[in-house]
């Protein structure tokens, strides 16, 4: 009797637990913060000090995770500039941001990916506004033949990264790599390829670059926030890629520049379109943005991968805010526009630099400001 009771209780318990587990895993996963740990700390410690006025306008936004640390910093600092406004931003990912601004459930969206023609047609009057750019860098973990970790900056020639990720360059001492790095000897080790497994703007920018430099990559794999990788391992988030690279001798991966810099990871130099080997710096990415500055169409959205300038860093992309050119709520619309203008100002750019994001160069900034001045409310100027 007792026995069956125990059994029954346990079965019931387990049923409950199993169904709960199943339910939990079926719901969308909680947001992944691609923010470097240090940055998040800064934001968290800063938050309690912000004291918005009672009755402040609440503006809701949602979207990309990549710029989330910067946007939260901006919201915090902006509370001192304009006490009559409060921001609530959910970093649910670019896909979610696009969906929510299309459904008009938020006042602004945010995306790392450029809207497709289909997405534009579903949200007539939507405008993409670049706020900052981020650079992506190749990281590696390689011991030389002497057993010591190679600390030299490895140079990756034009199509080297694409061929490595295609699985065509399999060894570190491949002639392509050896030729680009004559100053030190690369070992005859297998290259272990590591990619981001979670959908991300980082992958979008990286595969954009690979598609631009390699027709074969464009044909076989293509570009996206997630793609079907041909070889190697997948790590979740910057930390997953960095961790997987760190524990495999001969591994190569790619992470956001801010993450590599703040965690002191060794990153490589990449040959740009004009044949120079560039290093990721604020200037090199701003040069890349300026290279394309003049052909920014009315959509203000374009790829800045594989920039032609001599000093340009080739693997980078903008992150965008999404707003409607014709706002329905005049008060909120005005506040959003004022906030974005502030974010693009020198004040906003200062915080971007602190967090290792790359502010817009002057020409691009002016194009965005011009666009912001044309935002209307119910057909009338703001």
């Amino acid at each position: 009797m007792l026995k069956s009771k125990i059994g029954l209780t346990v079965i019931m318990l387990s049923l409950v637990a199993v169904s709960v587990t199943a339910c939990a895993s079926a719901t969308p996963a909680p947001q992944t913060t691609s923010a470097p740990v240090k940055v998040v700390e800064k934001v968290v410690t800063a938050t309690p000090a912000a004291a918005p006025k009672a009755g402040a306008v609440l503006i809701n936004g949602a979207g990309a995770t990549f710029p989330f640390p910067l946007y939260s910093r901006w919201f915090y600092e902006y509370a001192f500039v304009d006490t009559a406004v409060r921001f609530n931003y959910q970093s649910i990912g670019s896909g979610g941001g696009i969906a929510q601004i299309t459904a008009k459930t938020v006042d602004f969206g945010a995306s790392d990916a450029i809207l497709t023609a289909d997405q534009y047609s579903k949200a007539p009057g939507i405008q993409m506004l670049p706020t900052v750019a981020g650079a992506i860098v190749p990281i590696y973990n390689l011991k030389g033949d002497d057993g010591k970790v190679i600390t030299d900056t490895i140079k990756f020639s034009f199509t080297a990264l694409a061929d490595i990720y295609l699985g065509k360059i399999k060894k570190w001492n491949d002639p392509v790599l050896a030729q680009a790095n004559p100053n030190f000897k690369l070992p005859a080790k297998d290259i272990i390829v590591v990619a981001r497994s979670d959908g991300s703007g980082t992958t979008f920018a990286y595969t954009d670059y690979l598609s631009q430099v390699s027709a074969e990559w464009k044909d076989k794999v293509g570009q996206g926030t997630s793609v079907k990788w041909l070889t190697g391992l997948g790590g979740k988030g910057n930390e997953g890629v960095a961790g997987t690279v760190a524990q495999n001798d001969g591994a190569i991966g790619y992470v956001e520049f801010a993450y590599a810099k703040q965690n002191k990871l060794a990153y490589g130099s990449v040959q740009n379109k004009s044949g120079e080997y560039a290093l990721p710096t604020v200037e090199a990415v701003q040069t890349a943005m300026a290279d394309f500055g003049t052909n920014m169409s009315d959509k203000l959205a374009l790829s800045i991968a594989n920039a032609p300038g001599k000093n340009s860093w080739p693997i980078a992309s903008y992150t965008y805010l999404l707003v409607y050119m014709d706002q329905t709520d005049c008060v909120k619309g005005k506040k959003v526009v004022e906030f974005i203008k502030w974010g693009l100002s020198d004040d906003g750019a200062k915080f971007a630099k602190e967090l290792d994001y790359i502010p817009l160069p002057a020409a691009v900034r002016q194009a965005v400001l011009d666009k912001l001045n044309k935002v209307t409310c119910g057909g009338k100027p703001l």
């Binding site: 007792l2 026995k3 069956s4 125990i6 059994g7 346990v10 079965i11 318990l13 387990s14 049923l15 409950v16 637990a17 199993v18 169904s19 587990t21 199943a22 339910c23 895993s25 079926a26 719901t27 969308p28 996963a29 947001q31 992944t32 649910i92 990912g93 670019s94 896909g95 979610g96 696009i98 990916a113 497709t116 997405q119 297998d190 272990i192 497994s197 979670d198 959908g199 991300s200 703007g201 794999v221 293509g222 570009q223 996206g224 926030t225 997630s226 793609v227 079907k228 190697g232 391992l233 997948g234 790590g235 979740k236 930390e239 997953g240 961790g243 997987t244 760190a246 524990q247 495999n248």
Partner: protein, 326 residues
Amino acid sequence: MLSLTKQRASQSRFKELNRRLQHGDVAFRALTILGALTILAVCVAIGYALWDNSPLPRAQFGLSFLTSSEWNPVTREFGALPFVFGTLQTSLMALCFAVPISLGIAIFLAELAPAWLRQPLGFVVELLAAVPSVVYGLWGLYVYVPNFVKPTAQFLNSTLGFLPLFEGPVFGPSRLAASLVLTIMILPTISAVSRDVFLAIPSSQREAALALGATRWEMIGQVLIPYGMSGILGAVILGLGRALGETIAVTMVIGNNLDLSASILHPGYTMASIIANEFSEATYELYIQSLIQIGLVLFALTLALNLIARFLVWRVARRTPAEARA
């Protein structure tokens, strides 16, 4: 006279009702039924929501969604096979590792440990269950996998590498790594519940076995385990449930690759991982719905495994210890 009897009868009926209400029988019954129905309702609602939100992949791929190993967001082709395979392989492997260890822990805690050790050790086991899975994931990736799993994998590969099961090359993150992290995660669940099962077995059973001249080992193996079998199986189902649904910890260490080879040293992918990885940045409808359909498949698989396990428990529970031994 008659009316008086009637009055009394109605009075006593009223009293009876009053008594029942005061004891709370009715209210309690209603409350428990409500609780039970909530669980049922939640599960039906989730199943319905998953089904209702994923018509596109069903229309486009049909049943080939389950048999296709192509998952390519760029070319818009989606198939669930690598994920189903990875989920089943890692969960079942984790059970194989965890069940014997857990039973050992449970038997030790319930039968063999000195009284002063029982409480603290039991507490530590339960503490393990309270560690958040993201901690297991990061600890797994940075500590456990490079220092324990990878050397183990290299050893297996160098000694048994001729078997397809242990084929190289060896990276850190792999299906073996995921299984071994899961093992640690489900250990406390299985051992804590089995310990309680052993503790609930009346001492008369033990005394009877010992009185018949059984050694302690014989008493445990031939009386306690068969007696508590249905409870132990229940504990195993609990562990399996956690293993099937575990997301972050597995995602961190499995290597997230669509590899379908038999080798447990290769990277893999699970259903929970692909949802966690790609849902937030899925940018078009078919993509999102395919991920929801993966959720539906996981839900159905969990239900199916549960039913099988329940059937096993039912079979075992019907047998007497004597039959079970035979």
